[in-house]
């Protein structure tokens, strides 16, 4: 998946995305980082085709995303959003089954058996018949991940997937995403935590005010002045024993 001169402007607002050109290496974890309001989520929505670029082109497997039907696109790209909502009771299995919709006619029945492998890979097999509302935040996050995986996507988009998770689950999820990337899925996520982004990504996109100001491997982007410029705050990189380089944002006095 890649972007060619992609721009998007929200109506009546100054925020958006300006002339973004870059690529997401297939089968790797790419993380989009940048300060609040830089346009990270907007970019993700453009990639998910929830928003349509005003100019430029987003291509998927060599074809513009505009040329895909909704269904064909959903067979390629799955999105795990930040805010999940259900309007009524559903079981874990029922939610994950909706991930199979891109492969079915609207009146075709979806068999619960179809989602067994996706429940297994996310460790939800035992919880299949449980109501989603009765699960913890971390378990719910796994349900939505399982539903996205049920789409059998080649590209998996995640908007701040660690927001509602404690540290332990955050690391579990990051490891799981790496495993998924190893199976050939292109993982593209937005993360708030810079250190997590540097630690668990193969490729990084640094966004500032709607522009892509740097992209590359974590070691290439781990520069104090580059990050300080992007985040508009003094930054130091310190060496933590047994962990390695750690990015610290120094609060301004």
């Amino acid at each position: 998946m890649d972007c060619q001169h992609v721009s998007y402007q929200y109506p009546h607002q100054n925020t958006g995305i300006t002339d973004v050109t870059g690529t997401f290496p297939p089968g790797q974890v790419t993380t989009i980082i940048g300060p609040n309001g830089a346009g990270k989520s907007t970019l993700l929505k453009l990639l998910a085709h929830q928003l349509v670029a005003a100019s430029g082109q987003i291509t998927l497997a060599g074809k513009s995303v505009d040329q895909y039907t909704a269904k064909a696109f959903a067979q390629q790209v799955a999105m795990v959003t930040q805010h999940h909502q259900l309007y009524d009771d559903m079981t874990v299995s029922e939610v994950v089954q909706t991930g199979r919709l891109p492969y079915h006619g609207l009146l075709q029945a979806i068999s619960p058996n179809e989602v067994v492998p996706f429940l297994k890979v996310t460790g939800l097999t035992q919880l299949a018949a449980t109501h989603v509302q009765d699960l913890s935040g971390g378990q719910q996050q796994r349900v939505w991940l399982a539903a996205a995986l049920a789409q059998e996507p080649t590209v998996l988009l995640l908007d701040e997937p660690t927001t509602y998770l404690d540290v332990h689950y955050q690391q579990d999820l990051m490891r799981q995403l790496r495993q998924l990337a190893a199976t050939g899925i292109t993982v593209i996520q937005v993360l708030h935590d810079i250190n997590q982004a540097f630690r668990f990504s193969d490729w990084l996109w640094l966004i500032k005010q709607g522009r892509l100001i740097a992209q590359g491997q974590p070691e290439d982007l781990r520069q104090a002045d580059l990050l300080a410029d992007a985040f508009q705050t003094p930054i130091e990189i310190v060496d933590v024993p047994r962990l390695g380089p750690y990015i610290v944002q120094i609060p301004e006095a």
Binding site: A70, A74, L86, D89, P102
Partner: protein, 322 residues
């Protein structure tokens, strides 16, 4: 499906059969089991005439109407993501009633007039209901719906003060022709509802989530709305507006058989049919030889139910009113 769902299905079917037998026997003239068996076997008897020309069409009509209204309510609740949405409370039924009356006065020559006009009225109310911001806001929806309902009820009164034909919303005096019409319209709608039941489940997800899996949200939303409207206005066209069946039955169904619409819809169909028949049978027997209309019976039963439903608040099986 919930664990005890099959028991509840069995229970409602038995209840339905028992009530049908009672409804065949009860009325101005009580027919005991013996007389009933004579009525069913001897076409020359007086009992036969009573049963087949009066009671059977009335029973069939109330069964179809109850099932249709309950399913229409379930469909509206799925689309509006609101447990008290229902064509009667949102003004669809009273709009249909008003147009039916208007049609009778202005277009008496129109073939299939009552049904065509009721459908048109229902559609217009539906467009008004969905054109603003009511779709996104459950409270606004109900308030707009109640205002629509009051408006059309008022208009109908305005129109009927000078007319001889006023709708009573009763099964009294329904003929075989009415029953056949209801049966045809109802069965088509109910079969369609069973087919599209999974769509009602999909609408438990947000529009954004549905788009992500390539589902045409507008198509399924409007299909379900039009189907619910069709079911409710078909009842209005023949019988008149009957309130609350569409709220009471699906909410009870959710408690008994779970929240999967593939279970809620068939169960509502059976339970709605039973409730309507029970209400009508009670209505025509308690103050013999006079009777209480089905709409009045349902208002008396349904009103308190909705108050309890909302006042007792959230809880999963009570279905939150988010």
């Amino acid at each position: 499906m919930k664990q005890h769902a099959s028991w509840w299905y069995g229970g409602v079917i038995i209840l339905l059969l028992v009530t049908i037998v009672i409804a065949l026997m009860a009325g101005t003239v009580w027919l005991g089991p013996r007389q009933l068996s004579i009525a069913l076997s001897d076409p020359g008897s007086q009992a036969f005439v009573t049963v087949f020309s009066l009671r059977v069409p009335r029973i069939l009509s109330s069964l179809v109407c109850g099932g249709s209204l309950a399913v229409a309510g379930a469909l509206f609740q799925a689309v509006f993501r609101n447990p008290i949405a229902d064509p009667s409370i949102l003004g669809i039924s009273s709009a249909a009633d008003f147009f039916k009356l208007g049609g009778a006065m202005l277009l008496p020559w129109l073939p299939g007039r009552a049904w065509v006009m009721a459908l048109l009225g229902g559609f217009i109310a539906l467009v008004i209901l969905t054109s603003g911001r009511a779709l996104a806001d459950p409270y606004r929806l109900i308030i707009v719906g109640v205002a629509l309902d009051a408006t059309f009820v008022g208009l109908q009164r305005l129109l009927s003060s000078g007319a001889t034909q006023v709708s009573h919303s009763t099964f009294n005096g329904l003929t075989w022709a009415d029953a056949t019409t209801l049966l045809i319209l109802g069965v088509i709608g109910l079969v369609a509802a069973l087919l599209v039941a999974p769509w009602a489940n999909y609408l438990k997800l947000t529009d954004a989530a549905l788009k992500n899996v390539g589902v045409p949200v507008k198509v399924i939303r409007w299909s379900l709305l039009l189907l619910g409207m069709y079911l409710a206005t078909s009842v209005t066209a023949v019988v008149g507006a009957i309130p609350f069946v569409g709220i009471v039955v699906p909410n009870v169904a959710r408690r008994l058989v779970g929240h999967d619409y593939q279970s809620v819809i068939p169960f509502s169909m059976l339970a709605g049919a039973w409730l309507m028949l029970a209400a009508d049978t009670l209505g025509r027997t308690v103050i013999v030889p006079s009777e209480i209309s089905a709409a009045t019976m349902m208002a008396v039963i349904g009103g308190p139910f909705v108050i309890i439903l909302l006042q007792r608040g959230r809880g999963r099986h009570g279905l939150s009113t988010r």
